[in-house]
Symmetry: C2
Subunit: 286 residues, 2 copies
């Protein structure tokens, strides 16, 4: 598979790479970020934590602002951070420049409606094309976990519930747990997927959770949510997950963090906990 | 003194404040950042690390990208991060939009030449007005240290050498150690200070270091410099400090870090070492 390393920096004794490749799924060039801890080599492949970012982000925000590399280097964990939408001049964008539709707002789904369906196939990109490239070209094992923030928390949970066998653990900061029930999700889903809400369900974590009758085989879940997050009551709807979690008997810890907001400072405050949680389930603490 | 808290976020169990005030020294409104660790209160004031940022930065870059808050919270150390120049529509800027003169490039000096002298009085702002505001309004002690990056490394060292009794320790990442001898420094000093190079000396760390005959009473110095830093040989001139350090008998550790560049990823990789260094000299590890 062809790709180009567009930057390669030393950080925390490991390497921070930005990689550009032509995505056949998205029909555009994409850039993603990789942190390889100092332990990683062809002779010593390491587990991966996939990170999905939120609205308006690119591959760079998490790497610059979350302070995750320090602990990832200590634990021996690779980080893979994709972009949040297809990119390029011929990629459809919101006509009014809205931040919650189009570029930077792919919602990790496969669009079926024009003009979005041509490029907005983020679900397939994140679950098929990108992992194949990462596994083929980087010194990583098959042990993967997944996490994300806000729209990316939705993505991480939704993808883990769709492909539970692929991930050893899943976590989220401030996730959109029930996109079918909030303005961000309803706007995006109606544009990308059309008016038939039955086609939305496969991308809604609350819906997917409610379908689970046997939670064995599903990855353990950790959620951190700030109770001073301006988006909590209108968009994130954390409480909507309580009943489906209970009915599924799912192994989950949902932590309400007093006083914290929606920012990267919140992520940075608890990222070490999440990295430890994933490291434990990836066998790095054995 | 009047000021306005424009944001107040919880981070690492402490508080990240951005504070706006009208600077009489700079004749404009200024914003600076403060991190107060969880230990800080009116009954328990804490020591301060002053951080001076590099070219193009504002008060925000270090707080967002350096990953310093985690260790500062653990150590009980406040961070104070000023902007890098005066700001505002009536503040002179480089006519060609250059990044290394004017806005974002104040070089921590008092300009004497038009049009700069009206607002570019960063030395007085950093050494007089801002510390007075911080001491009067925030729960901090008189124990201060100072650090910075690149242009801010120049600022930190130069200010510590001018006011050695004020600081318990000084450190720098990738500092411009000899601005009189590099293109960045010569350009800025000629515009801000005029052609008489004798007026430049008070702002040049190599010059100031060379004047020291008795190093007792000067704060210990730690420098980290990446050897893959693109600016090392033309602008930073780290080696120029060797002879003055030797002749002064100054207590300094200059660490060349193999493979590291000039970025915030370099700062983030070693910021914990610097915070520990300052904490030790501030008595926080006793």
């Amino acid at each position: 598979m062809s790709y180009e390393v567009i930057s390669d920096l030393l950080a925390m004794g490991g390497r921070y790479l930005r990689i550009r490749h032509t995505s056949s799924t998205l029909r555009c060039d994409m850039v993603f970020g990789v942190f390889l801890p100092p332990q990683a080599s062809d002779d010593h492949p390491v587990p991966v934590l996939y990170w999905l970012s939120g609205l308006t982000c690119t591959d760079e925000n998490f790497m610059q602002k979350a302070g995750a590399m320090r602990m990832a280097a200590k634990l021996g964990l690779a980080l893979v951070v994709p972009d949040t939408s297809p990119r390029g001049e011929d990629v459809a964008d919101a006509l009014d420049g809205a931040y919650d539709l189009g570029l930077g707002a792919g919602f990790y789904l496969n669009a079926t409606e024009a003009p979005w369906q041509m490029h907005y196939q983020m679900f397939d990109y994140i679950t098929e094309e990108l992992p194949e490239l990462v596994k083929a070209e980087l010194p990583v094992t098959d042990s993967w976990s997944i996490s994300g923030h806000s729209m990316g928390g939705h993505g991480a949970m939704m993808i883990a519930l769709r492909y539970p066998q692929r991930f050893k653990s899943v976590s989220a900061f401030s996730p959109i747990v029930n996109p079918m029930a909030c303005p961000w999700g309803r706007k995006a889903f109606s544009h990308y997927l059309g008016d038939d809400e039955s086609t939305w369900q496969r991308y809604d974590s609350c819906y997917l959770m409610a379908q689970i009758t046997d939670p064995s085989g599903y990855p353990p879940l950790l959620i951190d949510q700030g109770d001073a997050d301006n988006f909590l009551l209108q968009q994130l709807l954390t409480e909507n997950l309580d009943a489906p979690l209970d009915s599924a008997g799912y192994s989950a810890e949902v932590r309400m963090q007093p006083g914290y907001d929606h920012s990267y400072f919140f992520i940075a405050s608890f990222i070490d906990d999440h990295l430890h949680f994933h490291a434990e389930h990836l066998g790095l603490l054995d």
